[in-house]
Subunit: 203 residues, 2 copies
DNA sequence: GGTCATTAATGACCATGGTCATATTTAAAT
DNA sequence: ATTTAAATATGACCATGGTCATTAATGACC
C-alpha cells in the first residue's frame, strides 16, 4: 500500500470514488434514475473514465454484490456448531444470512434485482466460484450430506435436488420480502419454511 | 367484427401487425437486439405510431404473456380429476404446465425473463387478477385446501406458506431449465421435486 | 359532396448508456 | 534534464428508447 506508484494509488482512489459515489446516489435515487453523467460529475471525472473502470453501469452492481458475497463463507465458519441438529444448523445459517440482509433493505433490493438481471443477461457461463448463488448451494449441499451421515436427513433423497429446493425457497422468500411493503419478517418466514421442507407437506 | 368502422378495423390491424412482427423479430434475434426502428420499419409504420399502441417496448412482452396466461385456468379445468391423490393432481397440473412451456423454450425464455423484469420494475401494485403468478398460487392453494379435507395433506401446515413454497420451487425449476443448455427435462424435474416436498427432507 | 371536430400517424427531437480516437500524465531509460 | 513508451483521462460522437407538437385520415352531420 505504501510502495505503490502514484499511478496505482490514483487508480485505486478513482475506482473507490466511483464506487462510493455510485452507492450514495443509488441509495438516494435508485439505480435506474442515477445517470452515469451524475456519477462522473459528482466523482469529478470525465464520462469516458467511468468506462475505464467499469465496463457497464450494471457491472457496478456486480462489484457491489461481490463485496457482500464473502459474508456467506464467513457465516458457515461461524455457524460451525456441529452438535446441533441439521435442521437447526440450516436454520441458524439461513436466518443469520437473512438478518444481514434485513439490515439494509434498500441496498439489498438494489443488489438482488440488478445483480440477477446482470447474471441472466451475461452470455458467458457464470463464474461458479465467485457467484454467491453457487456458493450458497454448495454450503447447503454440505450440510445435507453431513445430515445424512448423522441420520437426520433421509438417506433416499437426492441431495443436489434438495439443496436446489432449499435454495429456491430461500431466494423466493427473499424476493417476496423485498417486494413487500409491510414489515413481514424475512428471517422468521424462512425459518418456518425450513420446518415445512423438513417435515413435508403430505400427511 | 363486421359492423366496425374503418378506423377501428385499421387500429386493430395495426396493433396485430406490430404484435406479429415483434414476435417474429424477437424469436429471430432476441428481445434486446430487436430495435423499435426495425419493428416499425418492418410493420410499415412510423416510430411514433408504435408508442400509440404500446407505451414501452417492454409492455409488448406483457401483452404476449397475457395471451398465454389463460392456459393456467384452462388446465385446472381439464385436470379436474378429483379422485386422484392430492400429490398426483398437483403433479399432473404442474407437469402439464411445464410441458406446455417445453414446446417453445425460446419464447418461454423471452416471456419469463422480460415479463418478470417488467413486473419488478412496475411501481404500481401488481394487478393480482391478471398476473399469472398469483393465479398459479391460488390454484395451488385450492388444491392444498382440498387435500387437507381429504386428509392427504398435513392439517397443521399453513396452506398459504405451502402454496408459496410450491410456487417458489416451480419457478426456480423453470428458471433453471430455461438457463440450462443440456436437455434437462423440466417436467420430470418438477415431478421429482413435488415428491420431495410432500415427503419432506428430514428423517 | 363538403365541412369540421376527433382520432391516429408522423418524424424531428431529447436523454442516456456506451465507444473510441486523441490528448495528457506518469515513470523509466538515457 | 530530456526523451519516450505505456498507462490513463477525456469528451465528441453514436445508437436507441421514448416524447410531443404538427399533420393527415376519418366519419358524423349537413
Amino acid at each position: 500500500m505504501n510502495n505503490m506508484s502514484l499511478r496505482e494509488k490514483k487508480k485505486i482512489e478513482t475506482k473507490n470514488r466511483i464506487f462510493e459515489v455510485s452507492g450514495k446516489l443509488f441509495k438516494e435515487k435508485g439505480f435506474e434514475s442515477t445517470t452515469i453523467d451524475e456519477i462522473t460529475k459528482e466523482a469529478g471525472i470525465a464520462k469516458g473514465t467511468f468506462f475505464n473502470y467499469f465496463p457497464t453501469k450494471e457491472s457496478l452492481v456486480f462489484y457491489f454484490a461481490e463485496q457482500k458475497a464473502e459474508l456467506i463463507y464467513d457465516l458457515t465458519e461461524k455457524e460451525a456448531v456441529k452438535h446441533l441438529h441439521t435442521k437447526e444448523r440450516m436454520k441458524k445459517f439461513l436466518v443469520a444470512l437473512a438478518e444481514s440482509y434485513e439490515k439494509d433493505k434498500d441496498l439489498t433490493k438494489l443488489l438482488f434485482f440488478e445483480y440477477r438481471r446482470y447474471i441472466e443477461n451475461s452470455r458467458n457461463a457464470p463464474d461458479k466460484e465467485r457467484n454467491p448463488h453457487y456458493r450458497l448451494i454448495n454450503v447447503l449441499l454440505g450440510l445435507l450430506q453431513e445430515g445424512i451421515e448423522k441420520r437426520e436427513v433421509k438417506e433416499s433423497i437426492d441431495t443436489r435436488m434438495a439443496a436446489e429446493t432449499l435454495n429456491a425457497v430461500y431466494f423466493h422468500t427473499l424476493m417476496m420480502w423485498l417486494k413487500s411493503e409491510n414489515e413481514l419478517s424475512f428471517s422468521r418466514n424462512i425459518s418456518a419454511k425450513i420446518d415445512l421442507l423438513f417435515e413435508g407437506i403430505g400427511d
